[in-house]
Amino acid sequence: MNIDWYIVLSALLFTIGAIGILVRRSPMVILLCLELMLNAANLALVAFSREVGNQQGQVFALVVMVIAACEVVVGLGLIVAIFRRKLPLDVDDLRELRG
């Protein structure tokens, strides 16, 4: 398969993740959609690394996976903290910072 197929697939997956972030309101599902977008970026990185025949893009993809793991850990910690305080798990209700 040519590389452009992978790139278009990566754009499609990124778009689906963006729809999820725009539409869903549960912070857990929003984190999952963020994972979708990061994975789409990973696919693009690996595809471009294959295109130029250079393995450094795969190292970038690994670092993106590390960042995603950190983000998941902190995000899930926040969700547990929100749940412990008996606040609603809904990003439209948690609007204290909006002023």
Binding site: L22, Q58, V74, L87
Partner: protein
Amino acid sequence: MEAVLFFLAAIGATAGAIGVVAARNPFYSVLALIAHLFSLAVLFLLLTSAFVAAAQVVVYAGAVMVLYIFVVAYVGDASEAKWDPVPGQRLFAGLLAFFLFVEISAAVLSSALKALSTKGPDVPAGFGDPAAIGNLLLEKFLVPFEASSVLLLIAAVGAIVLAGKKRQGTPGKGTPPRATEPASVKEALTR
């Protein structure tokens, strides 16, 4: 053969992504994301990056998703309201996403990168296997590698601080132990 595998994995990845967005129960969203990650691992294998595919399955679909499932089981399925809080939110989200897809695709495909419509150059047999990636990580990218390990440590400590249990009845603080459900978000936050 390669085309068949690509389209199977692409359909699987897209279906998993749609499942993540569409499922009402967060538990099913997590399961759909696991299917999506396995399909992506197949795509990585097709792109001759074996180590990234293995790390995807072991780290992502194994460890991170287990963390998700534990938190979903702890919090329970907080079902969302079915109505749109902002009128027309889904319509506008769909429109925006469609234009985003068109824009990304057009930007990449018209970028005059000659090798985009090829399979890429022929690579030697060890391309993307653990030895090659390990050499890169420990020689050329040693500083980012160590920095990411420190970042993981900081994230773990931060998660413990965020989600850990507060000590009840610490001396000097006049806050009563949490007894009743807070009346509002503000009251709970200022507690």
